[in-house]
């Protein structure tokens, strides 16, 4: 009996929380700490830990590839974000809400399909579209218009990478913007109609102001997710040709997992996290996110 007493009795809520807490501690928090520790080493394929101070952390500065990779990352994030994740998403949301809902929802579901598709299957379909022979749909269309065979994956890797990621990314903005457009009070739209506004004026003066906040939200969310998403690039161009599409997150992967430069990979990861945090802080300041996001959905302690 005495021995049983010494086991601390867990309250029911502690018991229910414990498994999740243990798993997050072991496979989320511990890796975060390990990442920090690794960044101060030059660990390679031997898995031996040598503390080298900040050597790995300053190594990017001497790495001729690092500047190229940073520039690529900026091009990738900015282009995909603006052209696809915001503008294309906006176009899709406006178009699908201007037509009857039954028609619009069909097109929205179709645009959500790439997001639900496994990455390898998705990339396979792009290989078909872009196949440099007559088999590829793009070349077939180009051929019938009098063009010759293009190998776009080699000649225009950026266009391909941006479109490939953007066709998945656009659906998030599409869904968020659609919800915002649908929540515009119908009286506002009616009033615009009664006042004789053209469709374009209505979109410009009623729709767009109503979705300013969702656009900011999608911009922030998608910037951070683009900074760390490289799966489609890995599977399609693998950063090539000649590092043309090598972005920072992919560079981390190549260093750490492909070349077993684990110390350097961990240091680069920290750089990536730092960039993400910096970007988030800048957005926070520019958009005034704190003031806007706090009132909604945040816990009020009972």
């Amino acid at each position: 009996m005495a021995r049983r007493r010494r086991i601390p009795r867990l309250r029911p809520w502690q018991l229910l929380l414990l498994p999740a807490a243990v798993l997050i501690a072991l496979f989320y928090l511990l890796p975060a700490v390990v990442n920090l520790v690794l960044a101060f080493s030059d660990m390679d394929y031997t898995f031996d830990y040598h503390f080298v101070g900040g050597a790995s952390l300053v190594r990017p500065l001497a790495d001729p590839m690092f500047g190229v990779v940073l520039r690529n990352t900026a091009v990738y994030v900015v282009t995909t974000l603006t052209l696809m994740n915001v503008v294309a998403a906006l176009v899709l949301a406006i178009l699908t809400t201007e037509v009857p809902e039954r028609v619009g929802s069909v097109f929205r579901v179709l645009w959500l399909l790439p997001r639900a598709t496994p990455s390898v299957v998705y990339v396979l379909m792009w290989f078909f579209l872009l196949d440099p022979t007559d088999y590829g749909l793009v070349n077939r269309v180009a051929g019938s218009l009098g063009g010759s065979n293009y190998d776009l994956l080699t000649s225009h890797p950026w266009a391909v990478v941006v479109l490939m990621n953007g066709c998945v990314g656009a659906s998030m903005g599409m869904v968020v913007f659609t919800a915002a457009i649908k929540s515009i009070p119908p009286q506002l739209i009616m009033a615009a109609r009664v006042d004789g506004a053209t469709a374009w004026q209505r979109i410009r003066h009623v729709t767009l102001p109503a979705i300013a906040w969702p656009v900011m939200f999608v911009t922030v969310y998608q910037t951070l997710s683009l900074l760390t998403s490289y799966e489609y690039i890995l599977l399609s161009t693998d950063g090539g040709p000649f590092y043309q599409t090598e972005v920072l997150s992919l560079y981390v992967f190549h260093n750490a997992i492909a070349d077993y430069e684990l110390g350097y990979g961990a240091a680069l990861s920290i750089g990536l996290m730092a960039i993400g945090t910096l970007v988030a802080l800048i957005y926070w300041r520019v958009f005034g996110l704190g003031a806007r996001s706090l009132p909604a959905r945040i816990e009020v302690d009972r």
Partner: protein, 281 residues
């Protein structure tokens, strides 16, 4: 409706069709090509002759090449991975979400804020250190390591979604159960849980598909072909043959896509509730 309005609507739909055409064409090609013979296409997507040869990989392991394991082993691995992730994620996220929604304890607010930070954290940047952690735990080159990692990284999101569902269950229904002599956990099991079933279904479908689709962690953390999932099975054929065997690739891809299509068509509502990273429209 006036003629001008009708013309406008027709123009809008034409624009939508144009934007959707490449996507529709790609998926249609995938299905058609899995039954297509040779490398000839009419109208850009229709094979000139049809065959079931591409599907031989299902019963003849050598049809997919000598360097890949049997497709059924890969399927089994995919099922094990997806189902394990689903079961763990659902049970842990539900219990934790319930605690955050219904219990008052010291440190609850900061803990909740911390869970939210974890949800926003770009967890994929931990790939390097996860490699080392799994190595030292003896979980490298094993599907179980990937299960635990995936669940841990997805949990903050699941906890948040489930907390939202628990929050919407009125206190009164729990109160009346307590009045009737239920313990708090009894009320949780018998009264509250049935009311958050839509949330549980959403998380279940979402986490199953996340496991089913997983490529990166399996690619980075396993070396032995016996741990390959369908994503690696397909990827290895793709990288070996390039575009030389589109028929086989399409057939494997369609086979791999079957559960995805099923959930996409029949659970669109549950899926859209959580698909976009906790965006509640």
């Amino acid at each position: 409706m006036s003629g001008a309005a009708l013309r406008n609507r027709a123009l809008l739909i034409a624009a939508l069709v144009l934007l959707a055409l490449p996507i529709a064409a790609a998926y249609l090609w995938l299905v058609l090509a899995s039954f297509g013979r040779g490398h000839e296409l009419t109208w850009g997507i229709f094979p000139t002759s049809y065959t079931t040869d591409n599907w031989r990989f299902l019963w003849d392991a050598s049809a997919a090449g000598r360097d890949v394991p049997s497709v059924w082993l890969a399927t089994r691995n995919s099922v094990v991975l997806a189902v394990s992730i689903m079961v763990l994620d659902v049970s842990l996220a539900t219990n934790a979400g319930y605690v955050f929604s219904r219990w008052t304890f010291r440190g609850r607010g900061p803990l909740l804020a911390f869970v939210m930070v974890l949800h926003a954290f770009p967890s994929v940047t931990l790939l390097v250190s996860l490699f080392i952690v799994l190595l030292h735990m003896g979980l490298l080159d094993s599907l179980w390591g990937i299960v635990l990692v995936k669940v841990a990284l997805q949990l903050p999101f699941g906890i948040f979604v489930m907390k939202g569902f628990f929050d919407s269950v009125p206190w009164e229904s729990e109160m009346s159960a307590l009045m009737d002599g239920c313990t708090r956990l009894g009320a949780y099991r018998r009264v509250i849980l049935p009311q958050v079933m839509p949330g549980i279904a959403s998380i279940a479908i979402f986490s199953f598909l996340e496991g089913w689709k997983e490529f990166l962690f399996v690619y980075a953390f396993t070396f032995d072909k016996s741990s390959w999932t369908l994503s690696l099975y397909l990827q290895s054929i793709l990288s070996r043959t390039g575009g030389a065997q589109y028929g086989l690739l399409a057939a494997v891809a369609v086979f791999y896509m079957l559960p995805v299509v099923f959930f996409f068509l029949f659970a669109q509502k549950q899926l859209s509730r959580v698909q976009l990273g906790g965006v509640k429209g």
